[in-house]
């Protein structure tokens, strides 16, 4: 007798997809703030810039652990193949994130080495973002696979394409970070954030265009999916919407709107993320294994789902609440001294 088979793969795909997206969005803007931090005017300005993310950055970063664990638990084959393939970008990312994470604490309490921690924060943020872009680029490129193993070498992930995606992601995070700073600051600092946002925006538009033109040449599967009929009609809204959101974002960076630059940047990220998802789905190890191939057995997925479905909403609610608590403009005399 066979019990009716419940397929948990779609829900785990959703959890993993949302988890990764939350990570990219949330840690994305605070990494971007870290990149811009290096250009912030004066110590007063730097203090404000750092204070704008101090209460929330560690919560943002924990999504990275949850994303990693969800991949290991729900799609272990993908975890076992992809992680060795991105050995060095992951190493760079983890070391950069450590430096940048402790810089928050140490900068305020270790005045003798403040300049060192300033650099650690800015370069840690930039390098972490760049390494994540390399990971994304390597993922789109696909991996050399033999059976259940990664069969390439640890440096395969560094290609002109992945380096370009790395630069693109740094610019994208900087745009998100600029949007966040416009939202959280006022006066001269806000004007500075708008200027930074405009520079990042130009770079992002160039990067999106370059990645979009290059991607179909990376693998024939993507080219077929994009340009065959009727797909091309279904997918046309993505580039069209992207162009519209880009126009909206440029206007928002040039007028006096407070929240619109951040909203527009988030919109660009959503569209890029959706674009990558529809290019790759249902593959989780491009171009070898689908989500269903790589899934762990039902017993594993079900056991973890029970707790996840209980804890995840609570975590989301708390995350929302903590953003609510720290809402409003960041001020010099309040918060993280």
């Amino acid at each position: 007798m066979t019990a009716p088979v419940l397929d948990f793969v779609p829900i785990w795909t959703l959890i993993l997809g949302l988890g990764v997206f939350f990570y990219v969005l949330l840690d994305g803007f605070d990494l971007g703030v870290g990149v811009l931090y290096g250009f912030a005017p004066g110590r007063e300005g730097r203090n404000l810039v750092m204070n704008s993310i101090a209460p929330i950055w560690d919560g943002n970063e924990t999504w990275l652990v949850l994303g990693g664990m969800a991949l290991l638990a729900a799609f272990p084959l993908a975890f076992a193949i992809i992680l060795p393939a991105i050995y060095f970008p992951l190493l760079i990312m983890l070391l950069a994130l450590i430096f940048r994470g402790v810089a928050f604490e140490f900068r305020f309490r270790d005045a003798d080495h403040r300049t060192f921690w300033d650099y650690a924060f800015c370069f840690g943020s930039g390098l972490g973002a760049f390494a994540q872009g390399i990971v994304l680029g390597a993922f789109i490129q696909g991996f050399a696979v033999d059976g259940r193993r990664f069969s390439g070498s640890s440096v395969d992930c560094f290609t002109p394409f992945s380096v370009m995606v790395g630069v693109a992601l740094v610019c994208g995070y900087a745009l998100l970070g600029a949007g966040w700073l416009v939202l959280k600051t006022e006066g001269d600092l806000q004007d500075w954030a708008r200027r930074g946002g405009r520079i990042a925006f130009v770079a992002v538009v160039a990067a999106i265009a370059a990645v979009s033109l290059w991607t179909p040449f990376v693998h024939p599967l993507i080219a077929t999916r994009w340009f065959s009929w009727p797909n091309i009609a279904y997918l046309a809204p993505v580039p069209i919407l992207t162009a519209l959101v880009a126009g909206f974002e440029w206007r928002a960076l040039n007028n006096r709107s407070e929240a619109a630059p951040f909203v527009g940047a988030v919109g660009l990220f959503v569209l890029s993320y959706v674009g990558i998802a529809i290019s790759i789905f249902p593959l989780i190890v491009p171009y070898h294994y689908t989500l269903w191939d790589a899934a762990s057995p039902q017993a594993t997925q079900a056991f973890l789902l029970v707790g996840t479905l209980f804890l995840l909403p609570v975590i989301l609610m708390y995350t929302g609440w903590s953003y609510w608590v720290f809402r409003g403009k960041v001020r010099a005399d309040i918060g993280y001294h």
């Binding site: 664990m69 992951l90 190493l91 070391l95 402790v102 990664f150 762990s296 057995p297 594993t300 609570v314």
Partner: protein
């Protein structure tokens, strides 16, 4: 020289996990200590408990933060360096690891903020509940991670299909044979480690006649706790040893450096194990005592290392010396506790400078003991990642070259040395600053300030 990715990957894992482990070893105990202090304050209303708690919360914030950043590294190690292990066992142990992550996230998100920032924002009972939940959360994290670790030592509740482990019974997987012993032994070790740090800090203040009232309270209550815990820990360790004898006899033989089993069995106090010659040099041993301690009977005996094929034996020196360091520290701690009882009987606990000096000196010993114990049990598990079933050599990522891992190990070494020495220096500075400053944080505009106030050395004009 050819670089071996297997040895280097093991060194790298040992390096990152050893540093990471020191922080939970401290924060698990500290979270419970803070919860006790908050509870005492809530129940008695005495301000002294609040002052002590506020002080330790500052140190807790720094060590918890370092635990989080060094913890992010850990799950990725399984994939980058141990991909074949991940592929083989993920179906069984990944939910345990994921539950640990979820628990930690849940705890951090929901209650740590209240504990660190919320003293004035919530009523005292809610602050006490937050402290309790943080302590509970650290224990729950330990529960899941030790369940996964114990499963690697004494696997249960699974089936093997095509060389991969599949779950058959979750209760059997979680409550595998060594788990209850390991959990009890490890949690007690964390409490004791924290206890000796608290006693050392209190002794430091008493010797310098600073914060005398608070230091006396800290010293006395913590020494009472240690009076119970240290003997209990020796008993728990013995029970864990019997469990190892039953389930991991090769590890036990390595711990005791026993090559050939015979009854009655001597106890090797010191030896230099020689794996090539399969014998010990410079052996100092006590006749008959080995059998008595290991099997609780005079004629009892155990298997020797020669009963196992050479390829199934763990390295001998690490478990042998690791175990002796751990036990040596344990006996030293017992001596401190006994001395405290004698001094209490003479009513001179707070006056004996020699004893206070001893407390200062023994303050970091717990960290040495947990590290030595961890080396003993993990090296003793070799040459397996899943005991008896999956070899370490078959667990490492096949794509890695020795040079790859040498580069990453160098990176982790450099960064950890910088970050951990800065963190430890910071905690020592907070400890030296002491309990001065406002009793509770001021709240400006309804928003809490940092739990750690500015420290000496921060120039006056640095206020943003």
């Amino acid at each position: 020289m050819r670089l071996d990715p297997l040895i280097l990957s093991r060194a790298q894992f040992a390096w990152v996990v050893a540093w990471h482990f020191l922080l939970p070893a401290f924060t698990i105990g500290l979270a419970s200590f803070i919860a006790v202090l908050e509870g005492a304050h809530f129940a008695t209303g005495r301000k002294i408990y609040l002052q002590i708690s506020t002080f330790w919360v500052r140190i807790f914030a720094v060590s918890f933060g370092m635990g989080v950043v060094s913890g992010i590294v850990m799950p990725f190690q399984f994939g980058t360096n141990w991909s074949r292990y991940s592929d083989a066992v993920a179906d069984v142990i990944s939910p345990l690891l994921a539950y640990e992550g979820l628990t930690a996230f849940f705890l951090e998100a929901a209650f740590l903020g209240v504990l660190l920032f919320g003293r004035r924002l919530v009523p005292p009972w809610a602050h006490f509940i937050a402290a309790l939940m943080v302590a509970f959360g650290t224990l729950l994290s330990a529960f899941w991670i030790l369940a996964a670790n114990s499963w690697m030592q004494t696997p249960a509740g699974f089936t093997v299909v095509d060389g991969r482990f599949l779950p058959a019974n979750w209760l059997a997987i979680i409550f595998n044979p060594s788990f209850p012993f390991r959990f009890a032994h490890t949690v007690a070790a964390c409490y004791i480690t924290t206890g000796f740090v608290v006693v050392g800090v209190a002794a430091h203040y008493l010797l310098r006649e600073r914060f005398v009232r608070e230091a006396r309270t800290m010293l006395s209550m913590t020494l009472w706790l240690l009076t119970v815990l240290v003997p209990l820990q020796i008993f728990l360790g013995d029970a864990h040893g019997l469990n190892t004898l039953e389930h991991q006899p090769a590890k036990l033989a390595a711990i005791e450096a026993i090559w050939e089993a015979h009854a009655p069995l001597p106890l090797n106090l010191f030896a230099v194990p020689d794996e090539k010659a399969e014998m010990n040099h410079y052996e100092i041993s006590v006749p008959d005592l080995g059998g008595l301690i290991l099997t609780h009977s005079f004629n009892g005996t155990v298997k020797g290392l020669k009963d196992f094929p050479p390829e199934d034996r763990p390295p001998v020196a690490f478990p042998f010396f690791g175990f002796r360091i751990m036990v040596g520290v344990g006996l030293t701690m017992l001596a401190v506790v006994l001395a405290s009882l004698v001094l209490r009987a003479r009513r001179s606990l707070f006056d004996s400078r020699a004893f206070l000096r001893l407390c200062e000196l023994t303050s970091p010993l717990g960290f040495l003991a947990v590290t030595a114990g961890w080396v003993t049990t993990e090296v003793g598990r070799q040459p397996w990642t899943v005991y008896g079933l999956l070899r370490t050599a078959d667990s490492v990522s096949p794509s890695l070259t020795g040079a790859d891992v040498a580069v990453s190990l160098a990176g982790y070494s450099l960064v950890y040395v910088i970050v951990f020495s800065a963190g430890i220096a910071l905690m020592l500075r907070i400890a030296r600053t002491g309990l001065e400053g406002p009793d509770v944080e001021e709240i400006e505009s309804g928003r809490p300030r940092q739990p750690v106030e500015k420290l000496p050395g921060v120039e006056a004009g640095s206020r943003p």
